[in-house]
């Protein structure tokens, strides 16, 4: 039976998650050079059209439709056939099924958008769109089904992921890693400085992302109940602890905390708490956030030495965050906090930690391999990269015949 409070909550949450995509667009666009601003923004925005369309005619049914052998949903929900305002028996039983569908749609939209940070400032729009579509179908939908779909094999084995540490952050991180390996670094990478062109824009994006994350994690309780409260609180605490730790590290090591550092730490903390949000208590959430800030800070600095051009640190922040969060869930999960969850290592249940590690391995490998093949095939077939001149001129003019700023 439909509950108005739960319905209001998930509709609001769906709106919040939608807002994260423009938020991400600004977060990323602020960090690129001014000649690539619009191209960067569009790479995120276009996902709203591309993936929402895919979701209605393919994605939702593949991800949440009637299970086929634990690996995928069949296509009987094509065009939302049978997805009505009646609550689904399997998912979110107190709200219209369509509300659950559209809420999940927003997750499917932002995940490939997250990848774009990795190959920023250098890929062609057409091949990029093709890649993102294929990636959604071949990586996101299956993994989503394995973990969240009724009958999905990883979920059945007890792998937990509250709001997308594996489904969203690890898949996009692994995809990013593969894409960077195929696409290669920007021209003059290492020689020239690629300074962010507008950090206030990045901070605005951070604010919108944080705000949206309450819908992303809080809404994953699928009802306005105690679990939503747990998830909302750990989300905020994870994010703030990530910010605290990253800025602290900068303070200690460069004796200057930075604004971008605060933003990066916050996103790291929010991404890392995501899989654990509804399963851990506030103090665990803070520890997870602190770990996120610490590890991602070092991962990102280390990458710089590696000369690996994951331009906006999708691997170092989202990929790593997804892994750490999923591991920490195995450690800190507690049925005292969420009876529907699990007990982790500290609650004397090492098996669950192992299960989580298994989940990480499977999802990480699968996402990386498929992404790499996809990217390689498209690159060989039609070429992912802009030619050098276009890269010099910038995405905005070369790919979109637009200029971000005119005086």
């Amino acid at each position: 039976m439909i509950n108005t409070g739960d319905t209001a909550f998930i509709l609001a949450a769906a709106g919040l998650v939608l807002l994260m995509t423009p938020g991400l667009a600004l977060f990323y666009a602020g960090m690129v050079r001014s000649k690539n601003v619009l191209g960067t923004i569009l790479q995120s925005f276009i996902m709203i059209a591309l993936i929402s369309m895919e979701w209605v005619y393919l994605g939702y049914s593949m991800s949440f439709g009637p299970d086929v052998g634990g690996v995928i949903g069949d296509l009987s929900w094509f065009a939302l056939n049978g997805v009505t305002t009646e609550p689904s028996p399997d998912y979110a039983t107190t709200i219209p099924h369509t509300v659950f569908m559209i809420y999940q749609c927003m997750f499917a939209v932002i995940t490939p958008a997250l990848i774009t940070g990795a190959f920023a400032e250098r890929v062609r729009f057409g091949p990029f769109v093709l890649f993102s579509l294929a990636w959604a179908v071949l990586v996101y939908n299956p993994v989503c089904h394995w973990i969240w779909g009724a009958g999905g094999w990883l979920g059945s084995r007890g792998v937990l992921d509250f709001a997308g540490g594996l489904v969203v952050h690890l898949t996009c991180g692994a995809g990013a890693l593969a894409a960077v390996m195929v696409v290669g670094p920007r021209k003059n990478f290492g020689r020239a400085n690629f300074m962010p062109h507008n950090l206030p824009m990045t901070l605005l994006g951070t604010g919108l992302l944080w705000f949206g994350w309450f819908g992303f994690n809080g809404g994953s309780a699928l009802a306005a109940n105690e679990i939503a409260a747990v998830a909302f609180v750990s989300t905020h605490l994870g994010g703030m602890a990530g910010m605290a730790m990253w800025t602290l590290m900068e303070w200690l090591r460069d004796d200057k905390p930075t604004t971008l550092g605060a933003a990066s730490g916050a996103i790291a903390g929010l991404a890392t708490i995501t899989p654990a949000a509804g399963f851990v208590g506030p103090n665990s959430a803070i520890i997870i956030g602190l770990l996120a800030g610490l590890c991602c800070y070092f991962a990102v600095s280390f990458k710089n030495r590696l000369g690996f051009d994951d331009s906006l640190d999708v691997v170092g922040i989202h990929g790593l965050g997804g892994v750490i969060g999923t591991v920490c869930l195995g450690v800190f999960a507690s049925k005292a906090v969420n009876p529907g969850g699990a007990d982790g290592l500290l609650a004397g249940n090492p098996d669950f930690l192992v299960t989580q590690l298994f989940g990480i391995m499977v999802v990480g490998l699968y996402a990386f391999i498929v992404s790499w093949i996809l990217c390689k095939v498209i690159d060989m077939a039609i070429g992912m990269r802009l030619d050098t001149d276009s890269e010099m001129v910038g995405l905005d003019q070369a790919e979109h015949s637009e200029t971000a700023y005119n005086t």
């Binding site: 400085n193 300074m195 971008l260 990102v300």
Partner: protein, 112 residues
């Protein structure tokens, strides 16, 4: 007529302008430039990496003056712009062959 170009530190603009007003210079053209020279650039931190930024924001003044005034103007700018630190800037003096006021067509001295 001469053209005086001065590259100074941005925050010195107001002082220089006032000083020049003091000696009766009532016109100038100003623009933002970036300078590279002896003065060490500053480091910037970007996600744990440090970059050396060696172009430093400077302000460029362009002032057309009567040849006779050049030394006075140069000295005035020097005094007002000086902080005794590297990077205070340079002053260049260039020859001008003609000056015309758009509105009236006046030339030379009358035009400024």
């Amino acid at each position: 007529m001469k053209k005086i170009e001065a590259i100074i530190k941005p925050f010195k603009l107001d002082d220089v302008k006032e000083a020049l007003n003091g000696i009766g210079i009532k016109g100038m053209t100003v623009s933002d430039v970036k300078g590279y020279g002896r003065q060490k650039g500053h480091k910037e931190i970007y996600r744990g990496a440090e970059y050396e930024v060696d172009f430093i924001p400077k302000t460029k003044l362009e002032i057309i003056v009567d040849a006779a005034q050049v030394d006075q103007v140069v000295d005035t700018i020097r005094e007002a712009a000086n902080t005794d630190k590297i990077g205070d800037g340079k002053i260049f003096v260039l020859p001008i062959e003609e000056v015309i006021r758009v509105r009236t067509g006046e030339k030379g001295r009358e035009a400024i």
